[in-house]
Structure formats: structure tokens, C-alpha cells
Symmetry: C2
Subunit: 201 residues, 2 copies
């Protein structure tokens, strides 16, 4: 049995990454999702264990000392990280897993697991990115400006990814994403077992 | 406009490559096919300019002296080669092109065009390969044995390809092949223009 594969998805606010991921897991229910450990307080609309495990600062630092994170980050006093054990357990049993991280986290994971496949979600244009960031109508111009600058900084990092998926039409973007995962299985290095079997090696 | 992409398909007798290619061009009529130049006599069921251009030994050697082949081979006294100019013209105008060659030819092209995408068609098993090679019923055991050994020698070379497509169910294999071509377009290095445009660079 082949090991599972690790796929990384990144994409800033305004790229439609969350909606794309929702559709993705509807279409690929067998794909696992890596739950991040974070130390910030839980928000009213969040369910523990869904996207995040909420742990204490002390717990996080203990796990950090035990080298238990594939990547982590300290942001405005709170820790965010991807625990290693669940990811390794998942791929050991042959299940693929998706990790959602930012550009910085992706770079950290790539260093520890060089054969991860990294995919960045892009908006179709700068204008559309701006439109999506302003269309909620609830944020101040300052907040929107800040989000736009953060998004552009992340997009600068997209050049280090294996693939980009342009989220213009959602269904097309979801299909592109699923195709990337499917084609990954055709890589020759993942099929050496079959090749050797045919050759009786 | 992006340049067209060059895709290489290989797969020995018994992998079903020809049927797969037929289906492929039905589904992707915009994909170009590289016509080989060969010096052997035309067979009764062949149409000049369809799969091969039949040229003289002298013509071939003149083109060879002018470095006009991406790959070539001398086999039982006859030359076989992939002319360079039609491939370059095709990709310059943005059209993708498929080149059908053996493992040796693929290696030569990869050396000249390192960004080609190489795809090898595999049989699902050794047993199925043997079954397909014998099922025509017209060949002697010696000829079948020779074909099998040639096929296995080619399959040894499949490890140098980017992708393998297992031709178990034809429709699935065609879809896999088309997905490889489609996902190729999501490679980050082919989308730097869009990334830079979003970043106003």
C-alpha cells in the first residue's frame, strides 16, 4: 500500500479559498484535513476540533519543545501550529491529508517534508481581489486596505508553490484542485511498485 | 500569450497506446501531433503525412546535418526522427503538441527541451501485457516473445518519465492523460504572468 500524500493549500482573504475547500471536501470525503492547534480564544462561531484545537499557551510550548509541530507561528501573542503526529498517522495508513497554512507555514513544512505538493489559490485579477475584499460591506476602508496588503504579500509568496489554481469560476477551480490531487498519483515515483512488479523485480 | 507545451507519450506494444491516442485526439482536437520523418518504405495501410512523412535516406541525412531533429534513431538500416521546426512553430503560436517516441527518443528530446512533460503508458500487469501481445493470434511464439522482451526493456525506461498512466480501463486512462495535460497548465512557472499582473509588477 502506498503512503498517503500531503497537500498544502494557501490563499489569502479574497481568493475564495474557504468556499473552495468546502466544495472540495464535499467531493472528496476521503481526504483528511489537518486540524491546527491554536492558543487564541475561541470565537462564538467556531467549533473546537473542526478547524482548530484550542489549547493553552503552556500546552503549545510543551509540544513545541517536543518538536511536535510541522510548522508554527506566533501572531499577536498567540501561537498557531500544525501538529505533526496526526499528519504522519494519516499518511502511514494510506490516507491523503490537506493542510491549510499561509506562505510562511508552507515554507516550514516544505523544509521538513520535501515531497509535499503545494497549491496556491489565486484571485483572477487584482480588481476582483479588491472587489471581493470590499463586498462584505462591514469593514472600514482601513481594515480593507490592511487585508489587501496582506493578500498581496501572500501572493508574492505564491511563486514558491508547485501549482496555482485561479479561482474565477468556483466549479472550475474545484475541478482543477481535484485534478492536481488525482494527477499527483500518476507521478512515476509513486508507481515504482507497479513498474517493478511488471518487470518481476 | 503562453507558449504551447510539448508532451511526450511512450508505451510499447501491448500497452494500448495507439487506441488511447486515438481517443485522446477525439477529445482534444486542438492538440497537435508531431509527424515523424522516416526512411523505410510505406506500408499498404499507411497514409503519408498522417503519422509519418516518408523521405529518402539522403533527405534525412541532409536534415540531420542541419541539426533538424529533436531525436532520431537508425533501426535496421532505416532512419526515424522527430523534425524540430514543426514542433517549435507549433509551440511558438501557443499550440500544445504531442510527440510519440520510444524511451531512447524521449531521452534525446528531454536533453534538448528540459521542460517537456513525459508520460509513459503502462499495462496493468505482466499477465495482461502477455495476454494483449498474444491475443491477436496472428504472430508466432517467437515474434510474441521478441515483442514481450522489447516491451519489458521499454518499461525499464519508464522510471525516467514524469508520469505513468496505467491503461487498465481505456476511458480512465484517457481521462488520466487529459488530466495530466490540464494540470500542467496549473504549474506555477506557467502562471508568473498572472501573478505579476495581480502584483502590478
Amino acid at each position: 500500500m502506498n503512503k498517503g500524500r500531503v497537500y498544502i493549500i494557501s490563499g489569502p482573504s479574497g481568493t475564495g479559498k474557504d468556499t473552495l475547500m468546502k466544495k472540495l471536501f464535499e467531493k472528496l470525503p476521503e481526504l483528511a484535513f489537518s486540524i491546527s492547534s491554536i492558543t487564541r480564544p475561541i470565537r462564538s462561531d467556531e467549533v473546537p476540533g473542526e478547524k482548530y484545537n484550542f489549547i493553552s499557551h503552556e500546552q503549545f510550548e510543551k509540544m513545541l519543545a517536543e518538536d511536535e509541530f510541522l510548522e508554527h507561528n506566533l501572531y499577536v501573542g498567540n501561537y498557531y501550529g500544525t501538529p505533526k503526529t496526526p499528519v504522519l498517522k494519516c499518511i502511514e495508513k494510506g490516507q491523503d491529508i490537506l493542510i491549510e497554512v499561509d506562505v510562511n507555514g508552507a515554507a516550514q513544512i516544505r523544509e521538513k517534508m520535501p515531497d509535499v505538493v503545494t497549491i496556491f489559490i489565486l484571485p483572477p485579477s487584482l480588481e476582483e481581489l479588491k472587489r471581493r475584499l470590499t463586498s462584505r460591506g462591514t469593514d472600514s476602508p482601513e481594515v480593507i486596505e490592511k487585508r489587501l496588503n496582506e493578500a498581496l504579500r501572500e501572493i508574492e509568496g505564491s511563486v514558491d508553490y508547485d501549482f496555482v489554481v485561479v479561482n474565477d469560476k468556483l466549479e472550475k477551480a474545484v475541478d482543477d484542485f481535484i485534478n492536481i490531487l488525482s494527477v499527483d498519483k500518476c507521478k512515476t515515483e509513486l508507481n515504482l511498485g507497479l513498474i517493478n512488479k511488471i518487470l518481476n523485480k
